[in-house]
């Protein structure tokens, strides 16, 4: 029950951040593929950097354990990503 409620709150922060970055808008997403607006990349890379530093700092201090890391299977990741990119450029999400 706690986990469910917590997930809802996490989702709230997630949706809030994305909307504020303007990533709910079609042109923001598709323009990263046209190189006219790199907001998606700036947003993604900032998230990566912040979460990376925070997670590993807490882990090194022994406060948290790392969860299961998404598995790598090259062909699946590659083909899935290729299909995903077509959908992303078309739909704009």
């Amino acid at each position: 029950m706690f986990e469910m409620l917590f997930a809802l709150i996490i989702g709230f922060g997630f949706g809030f951040a994305l909307q504020k970055a303007g990533l709910g808008k079609y042109h923001k997403i598709v323009n990263v593929f046209r190189f006219t607006d790199l907001a998606v990349l700036k947003f993604m890379m900032t998230t990566l950097a912040v979460s990376m530093v925070g997670t590993f700092a807490l882990n090194s201090l022994g406060i948290i354990a790392l969860p299961a890391i998404p598995p790598t299977y090259v062909v699946g990741n590659l083909i899935g990503g290729l299909i995903f990119g077509v959908g992303m450029a078309g739909a704009g999400f």
């Binding site: 922060g13 997630f14 079609y26 598709v30 900032t46 998230t47 995903f84």
Partner: protein
Amino acid sequence: MMKLLQQKEWSPYLAGTLLGLVYIVSIAVAGIIPGASGAFENIGGLIAQAIYPDLAKNTYFQFVMPPGITTAVMILLGIFIGAFVSAKLSGDFKLQVVSDPQWKRVFGAAVWKRWLVLFLGGILLEFGAGIAGGCTSGLAIGGGLFLAPSAFIFIAAMFISGIPTAWLMYRRKY
């Protein structure tokens, strides 16, 4: 503070920092890597159970993505609420059938065209995320922060196919 919350658009660096903090809290408190695409598969499994139970018994739904109201579904629900609150606060919320000015300028205001591309694109998005094992949030960021190779293969592939797709759609306007 209130003024900041009412802004229509934040710098991507500020919004990205907020999302980074959300990831840290989520991983630290519950060990959950936030993702958006898995929820659709959980819900899809529920629908399969209801209308075609044999399908829900296949390997994928049994072992990879079990049907049910999971934490992923709750995150998805939270995303809607969070985005809605954010849009309402800034007065950015409107109900529209074809919402994007750039789309209208380039492809016209025809509703069927936008909805068809949106629908087909949505299928491809979810299908691709299913094969790759996650989407931009769960795999690219959630894996990338652990420097998982899968995340970087995925990000590269996403751009390898996204760029030509956008080019084919825009052609001279690219």
